[in-house]
Symmetry: C2
Subunit: 144 residues, 2 copies
DNA sequence: TATTGTTATACTCTATAACTATA
DNA sequence: TATAGTTATAGAGTATAACAATA
């Protein structure tokens, strides 16, 4: 790419960055509303989404990209609702592994179903979706 | 598009939604770090970004998509840093218009410059950027 | 000594409801 | 009465620092 394209004021890259932001803002707006309907916050739903297998608190913090001290509260609230439980790891009693309960698996499926019904992207045809996916993948590769 | 494509588990639409989320997460991660370097939070930077001309508090709330009561605090903090000032509208003394100060304009330019240097999208060539922009625009049209 | 997780603290953002000043 | 903005309150997420239990 040219130096000009990357740095010029009002560049295509900037427009795209704004579109990404706007698209994500609307996606989050939609998703947050749906998530709230399940009585969850976004970080809480994200944790459920990540829990295919049990994860240590520190691993949850990594997935959330936040400090470990925050995970305590988020998991506390999920545990208070009976969606996850803490289990001490057998080999190392310092580690607590977070696992979905039966109810947690049910709510996780609801979250999954809700995410799949998200409008917007679905309006594109198969070829367009494929093209978009490829472009986004390449853009992602450029960001860390 | 087919019903199958839209609703099947693991559909392209879902993959794309996750890519959008991931791309935005990284963009926000990068931008938030840069913004923090300027001593600002994202909502504060967003307000500066919106202030081309003075805006009433209620208009700022609309742009932020949040309740008007929150804007008081956000503007308070910007005002405490000398980046914006409140001005009572002449014709209607209930309305307060928020305007950038000289320092605020300077910081706004820094925010703008920082946003333009965002990596990732810039790795795509001109044709790809153009294609991506078009696809995102159509996806946006489908979301409210 | 080092690591895992929690607690204490403080700040920002968020919404709801009650309030003040103005229209 | 209605509207614009503020204040009061409460909850959630965030980071930093100090702490307990365990390794």
């Amino acid at each position: 790419m040219s130096e000009q394209t990357r740095t010029r004021y009002g560049s295509a890259a900037e427009e795209i960055a704004e579109q990404i932001s706007e698209l994500h803002r609307r996606l989050v707006g939609y998703i947050d509303g749906q998530i709230a309907g399940l009585g969850l916050t976004l970080p809480q739903a994200f944790v459920l989404h990540q829990l295919d297998a049990p994860l240590a608190m520190s691993q949850v913090a990594e997935r959330l990209h936040c400090d470990a001290s925050n995970v305590t509260g988020i998991v506390d609230r999920l545990e208070a609702r009976g969606l996850v439980e803490r289990q001490v790891r057998a080999g190392d009693r310092r580690v607590k592994e977070i696992a979905l309960t039966t109810e947690g698996r049910k709510v996780k499926r609801q979250v999954k179903r809700m995410l799949m019904g998200t409008p917007g992207i679905g309006e594109l045809n198969s070829r367009e979706q494929s093209a978009l996916r490829d472009l986004l993948e390449r853009a992602l590769a450029g960001l860390r």
